[in-house]
Amino acid sequence: MWRRVLLVFGLCMLPIVASHATLEITVTRGVNTAVPVAIVPFGWEVQGPAPSTDVAAVIGADLTRSGRFKAIPDKSMLEKPTQASAINFTNWRILAVNDLVIGRIKPAGSNYQVEFQLFNVYTGQQLLGLSILTTPQGLRWTAHKISDLIYQKLTGQQGAFATRIAYVEISGKGGKDSHYALVVADSDGANPQTVFESSQPIMSPDWSPDGKYIAYVSFESGLPAIYMQDIYTGKRELLSERRGLNSAPAFSPDGKSLAMVLSSSPGNPDIYVMDLATHKLRRITHSEAIDTEPTWSPDGRSLYFTSDRGGSPQIYKVSLSGGAPQRITFDGNYNARSRISPDGKTLAMVHRENGQLRIAVMNLNTGALLTLTDGSLDKSPSFAPNGGMIIYEADYHDRGVLAEVSVDGQVSERLSESQRGVSVYAPVWGPFLSQ
C-alpha cells in the first residue's frame, strides 16, 4: 500500500514541467590542457524506436563543460563500438584520445538498463564497467550520474553534473509589466521547471542542504517577504514579513537555521538567524551601517556578510559565538555578496573594478584576490557543490544570462536562454543529491 502511495507521489513530482526554452551552452574560454576523451554513441540493440535522449551526447557535453576534458565529435570517430570486443584501440590512439567510453541501452520492462564501460586507450584497461536501471524519464539524469562516475574516476574528485540549479527568470524589461519565475533546472540548464511565479519581483533564492527546499524573497504582496518552499510538493511557508527589509535568506549547513536580513529599526538592515523549528530570531549584527548578504562558513560557526560600516561595501566575518566582526576584504571599494567554497578555503564575491562588476575569488589563507571574469555586470556567484565551478549571472547583449567559470579562471562558458526577451539572474547551485 505504501508503495502505491509513493507511486502517486512520484507521479505528482514529475510533471511540474512548464514549457520552457532550454539553455544553450557556449564555451567562452577554454584551456589547451583539456584531456581529449571519446564518448561513443550508446548502442540500442533491439527492435523499436531508440530513446530520445542521446546519453553519450549528454555525457560528452558534461565532461567538456568541466573544462578538464574535451569530448571529440562523433564524426571524427573511426569506429563506433558498443561492445568491448569490438574496440580497436589503435583507432583511438591515432586520434590522441586518452579515454574511451562505450555503452548500451536495453529495455527492461517499461524501464531501461544502461550499461557503460570506461577504458584507458593506451593501456586498454577497463577503468569502470557499470549497469544502471532507470525510468525512461530518468535517462538524462542517469547520463549525468555516469558523467559524475567518469569524472570521479579520472580526476579523483566528485562530479557535480547530477545536481540542480535554481534561478529567477524575468520576462519584460524589468519595469512594472514584468513577469518573474523561480526556476529549477538540471546543472546543465536542461529540464527547467517553474516552481513559483509572480508579477512582482522574486529575489535571492537559496537551496536547503538536502536539496528539497528553496528559500527566497517574494514581493507578491507589494512588500518583501521571505518564503521557504518544498520544491516537490509546492508547499510554501511564510517565514518573515516584518516591517522594513526581509532579504537575503541563507540556509545554515545543517539546514536547521536560516540567516536573513531584517530592519532592526527603520533604515537599519542587520543580520539575523532564524531557528526554522521555532521561528525564533537571534540578532547577529548591531551596526548602524548596511549589513546584508549573509552566508555561512561550512562549519556553521560563523557568517560572512557585506557591510559598509567602513565607508564602502566590504566582506566581514562574524562568529556566531560572539565577538566583533572582522573585515576580510581590502582590495577595491566594492566587494559584496560573498559565497564560500565547500572546503572553506576560497571566498567568491562580486568585486568592482574600474566601474565594472566582476566575479573574484579570494584565498582566505593568503588574502590574495583573483578576478575570474571580464564582464561588466557579473553578479551572484554560487559554487558547485564540488567547488570546481562557479555559476553567476552576466550581461550578454543586454540580457541577464547564466555563466560559469572554473575556480582557477581557466574555463568559462555561457548558458544562455534561447528565448528572446527573457533575462535570468540570481543562479544558485544546489547540493549533491543522494539519488
Binding site: S199, S204, F219, S263, G267, P269, A336
Partner: protein, 176 residues
Amino acid sequence: MKFLRYGFMAFVVVLFAAGCAKTVKPVTPPPATAPSTSATTPPATSTAAPPSVTQLSPLDDPNNILYKKVVYFDFDKSNIKPEFLDMLTAHAKYLIAHPSQKIRIEGYTDERGTWEYNIALGDRRAQSVRRFLLFQGVNPDQISTVSYGEAHSVCSQHNEACWSQNRRAVLVYLSP
C-alpha cells in the same frame, strides 16, 4: 484497524493529489501597486443632490510642484540633493494639511550593485526621504516605505543617462 489504516492511506493519497494540483497551478499574481487616484475620484452622485463641481487635487496638476514625486540620487549615495528640497517641503506641507493621506516611499537603485545590497541601498534612499518629511513635521503614521532595489527599473540601457533615472525614491500617494 486495517480499515483505519487504508482509510488513512486514501486520505494521504488525496492530500498528495491536492498538492499536485496546487504545484502545477501558477500562483495568482498579486494586485498591482495601488495607483494614486484617491484625490481625483469624482464625488458620488446621487439623484437627489444637484451636480457638484470640485477641484482636482494639486497632486495631479502638472503646474504644481506637488506633481513632482520623484527624488533622484547620485551613484551609491542616499543623501537628498538641494534641488529636491522645495519639492519635498511642499509634499510635507500637503501631508500635514491632509493628515488622513498616507504615502508609500519606494526606494530604487541602478543595476550596478548586487541585488541584496541594492535592496539595502534603495531602503536607505527611501528612509532619507522619510526622515526629511518627518523632520518637516509629517506624522510617521502617514508614511510607509519599501525598497525594490534594482527591480522595477524605468530604463534598461547600460549608460549613465539611464542609470540616473533608476536611482530614485518615488512618493506614491495611497488611496484611502
